[in-house]
């Protein structure tokens, strides 16, 4: 009994060793596997932000009073709007918005200051480029808040609104989009590694004809699957460590929770993700087909349906239902919980159980499919 178990371990070790040699023989792919998290984190950490500021703005000031100039100055001073052009006439606004040179247009009518001085209601026209709906919504919010304060000041209306909202933001008080994106990105990175590396392993052996040689040896199906999975697990794990280190030290994302818990949940997720890659590889049998399926089955859902960036509650009900079977969803929730909220194990356990369940199911499917292919 012990002896057969030992033999099993030796065979798994042999397969893993063979796979490692094969990976090391292709240093370019290995280098890219480690470059991937660094590149993605850099792009998401430095280049990309959902925070809206420096909105290109064109202003048309027909009034040319001190009051209207003050309004323009206030927009610039807020930091959200940068005035790229002071228009000569109304038509210029059209050209600027059409060509995309400005996203926001503010048009101040002729007797703006006079009307306010007389105690009337002055009209102010605001046009935003709605084609980017997200930026447009946020910029309208900024504008109305700014104009509200401005209006209250210039009209001298001192009466405060009778109900005052008191806003407190938890977990990410400064609402930094970096803190929101980076933890979830770790899930995407690990899914990508699974998709790009493991999805080709079995397919490659089939295409090159070395699978028959492997089958001819005394190894059993689970041994092949585990043996092939282990080296990629190591790569994925190193990628995870790189990502967490970069997130904490370079991007200063707070890690409020326990690092050990993070490691355990990540390992469970990685096991399932790699298992999924292996299933794709076994089923596809061709590298071209495997790569295409992997993109759609692993990367796309992890990126779009996991809640990594796009709130699941905004999706239509059928997609919300689909997102429930996507492991990345649970991992993203755990990551955000551990990083930003410092959630205790009590809260994380339900997500972790699902991830474990997924990993086991995928492993069983991988074995079943592999057995069928052999016969």
């Amino acid at each position: 009994m012990v002896k057969t178990f030992l033999m099993k371990l030796i065979r798994i070790k042999a397969i893993a060793k063979k796979e490692i040699i094969q990976i090391l023989r292709d240093p370019l792919s290995l280098a890219m596997a480690f470059l991937m998290p660094v590149l993605l984190l850099f792009l998401f950490g430095y280049a990309i932000t959902l925070d809206v500021d420096n909105l290109t703005t064109i202003i048309y000031d027909a009034d040319k009073s001190s009051m209207s100039r003050e309004l323009a100055a206030e927009l610039t001073a807020s930091g959200y709007f940068s005035i790229v052009r002071t228009a000569e006439d109304q038509r210029e606004i059209d050209t600027y918005l059409d060509s995309g040179r400005a996203r926001v247009a503010v048009s101040i009518p002729v007797d703006f200051a006079k009307t306010i001085a007389k105690g009337g209601i002055a009209q102010l026209q605001v046009i935003v480029d709605g084609s980017d709906s997200n930026t447009a919504t946020i910029s309208l919010g900024y504008l109305s808040a700014l104009l509200d304060i401005y209006a209250r000041r210039v009209t001298g209306a001192r009466s405060a609104p009778s109900i005052e909202p008191r806003v407190r933001v938890w977990y990410n008080p400064e609402l930094k989009s970096r803190n929101f994106i980076i933890p979830g990105l770790i899930a995407v990175i690990m899914m990508v590694i699974a998709a790009l590396l493991t999805s080709l392993t079995f397919a490659r052996e089939w295409e090159r004809g070395t699978m028959e040689q492997l089958i001819a040896t005394p190894v059993t199906a689970p041994e092949v699957v585990i043996g092939k999975l282990l080296p990629y697990f190591l790569i994925g794990f190193i990628d995870m460590l790189i990502s967490v280190a970069m997130a904490v030290f370079l991007f200063e994302v707070p890690l409020k929770g326990n690092l050990a818990v993070l490691t355990v949940i990540s390992s469970v997720f990685l096991f399932g993700a790699l298992g999924l890659g292996i299933v794709i590889s076994i089923v596809a049998k061709s590298q071209l087909v495997a790569s295409q399926i992997a993109m759609v089955a692993t990367f796309l859902p992890a990126f779009l349906l996991s809640g990594f960036m796009f709130a699941i509650s905004n999706m239509p009900i059928p997609l919300q239902a689909i997102s429930r079977v996507i492991p990345a969803r649970y991992f993203v929730a755990s990551l955000k919980g551990i990083f930003l909220k410092g959630n205790p194990v009590r809260i994380l356990v339900s997500d972790a159980v699902f991830l474990l369940f997924f990993a086991v199911i995928v492993f069983i499917i991988a074995n079943k499919k592999f057995l069928k292919k052999i016969v």
């Binding site: 280049a47 046009i127 997200n134 009778s162 938890w170 295409q292 859902p301």
Partner: protein
């Protein structure tokens, strides 16, 4: 004399004809190879459909149905009225009404709700006595984007309510009336913004991956040598390898456009003929990059990873989802080398803004220059590798 003149005259067109024939054969061979696997046929058409559907439906930055908790400690007519306003706004879905603050903490920790509205005891009493009352908003800042919008919506609802119930303030007599309008996409629907972008993305992903893999595969299987001993010239080989995927990309473009118009009701406000023209220009650079990857990669594994390493930055630094103006200056300059940047402006201009050639020509010119540069460089590198 007459005969030699005739053959001389015919020689040019004849050579040309032969070259075209060779390219045609190569294209046919390529199609057979790609479509031999029945699953590939499905994949080529299923992938764009799946991507369009997911992007159209899932990638919505519109904020609505925000899961909300309400703690109404006042439980008066006024507080219930305010809660009712939240519920009927369409932005907030009230899914929990806990009775104490510690329950709220748990709901936010578990991400069951993303915003909590707390109305303290004495709310209606304060209102009656004309003392400023307050409403507490507790927001989960994890999703910074949604939170920004949600807090803005909540503040507006409260302000509106406060204006409706409050005494007529002096503000009404003197003030500024802000007329807001959103052009091109008046309802601010994010699908109108995303679906045209998917065309650009799908074209890039399919043609990049298929081109690079098609070449590398020949090398991996060892059939590249066989191709080289045929009378095919390097230019013909390059054209034969890229034309099939250009055609597939064109089909995908038409496919997604039809989907976008029929399922997602995306408007086409501009001249439609500009779409195939600019797609053709765009393909020049995409296929060029595919060729480039194929000169770097020796195995399919490398080709797949290199494609991805190229594709991700190209998408992220294009303005597809993240506005270019918000990027640091260095990255903004980088985007000028990105063909996707120009194509996105063109395609959104055609669909949403109704831009014509008069406005889009600088973008098309830039796209053309990038395309010619990339394709020429990659072709030269490809030839060198062959030799």
């Amino acid at each position: 004399m007459v005969r030699s003149l005739e053959s001389c005259l015919l020689k040019g067109p004849c050579l040309m004809h032969k070259a075209l024939e060779r390219i045609k054969q190569m294209v046919i061979k390529e199609f057979i190879q790609v479509l031999r696997d029945k699953r590939m046929k499905a994949i080529i058409f299923v992938i764009p459909v799946v991507q369009t559907l997911v992007f159209g439906f899932a990638v919505t930055t519109d904020v609505n149905n925000i899961p909300t908790a309400v703690i109404d400690l006042d439980n008066s007519f006024a507080s219930r009225e305010l809660v009712g306003r939240f519920a009927s706004s369409g932005y907030f879905t009230i899914i929990a009404s806990p009775t104490n603050s510690s329950a709220v903490q748990d709901l936010l920790d578990r991400a069951t709700v993303s915003i909590a509205i707390q109305i303290n005891r004495g709310f209606s009493a304060d209102l009656k006595r004309n003392i400023p009352a307050s409403v507490q908003l507790l927001a989960d800042g994890t999703d910074s984007n949604t939170t920004t919008v949600a807090v803005d919506y909540a503040s507006r609802i409260i302000k509106r309510y406060s204006q409706d119930i409050g005494p007529p303030v002096t503000l009404a007599t003197a003030g500024i009336d802000v007329r807001q309008r959103a052009w091109y996409n008046p309802e601010l629907k994010s699908k109108n913004y995303n679906v045209p972008g998917v065309i650009a993305m799908v074209i890039m992903l399919t043609s990049l991956l298929l081109t690079s893999m098609a070449v590398v595969r020949e090398r991996e299987i060892g059939t590249m040598e066989q191709l080289m001993v045929t009378p095919l010239r390097p230019v013909e080989l390059i054209l034969g390898k890229t034309i099939p995927f250009a055609l597939i990309a064109f089909c995908d473009m038409i496919f997604i456009t039809i989907l976008g118009v029929t399922i997602f009701n995306i408007p086409i406000n501009g001249p439609l003929w500009l779409l195939p023209l600019s797609t053709a220009i765009y393909l020049l650079s995409v296929l060029g990059f595919g060729l480039f990857v194929s000169t770097v990669a020796k195995t399919l594994q490398q080709a797949l990873m290199a494609t991805f390493l190229f594709f991700m930055p190209a998408v992220l630094l294009s303005g597809f989802m993240f506005p270019i103006e918000n990027m640091p200056a260095v990255f903004q300059y980088l985007t000028y080398a990105n063909p996707l940047r120009y194509f996105l402006i063109i395609i959104r201009g055609i669909f949403l803004k109704g831009n014509g050639f008069d406005i889009l020509w600088p973008q098309m010119a830039a796209l053309f220059i990038v395309g010619v540069a990339v394709f020429t460089m990659s072709s030269l590198r490809f030839k060198k590798r062959l030799g």
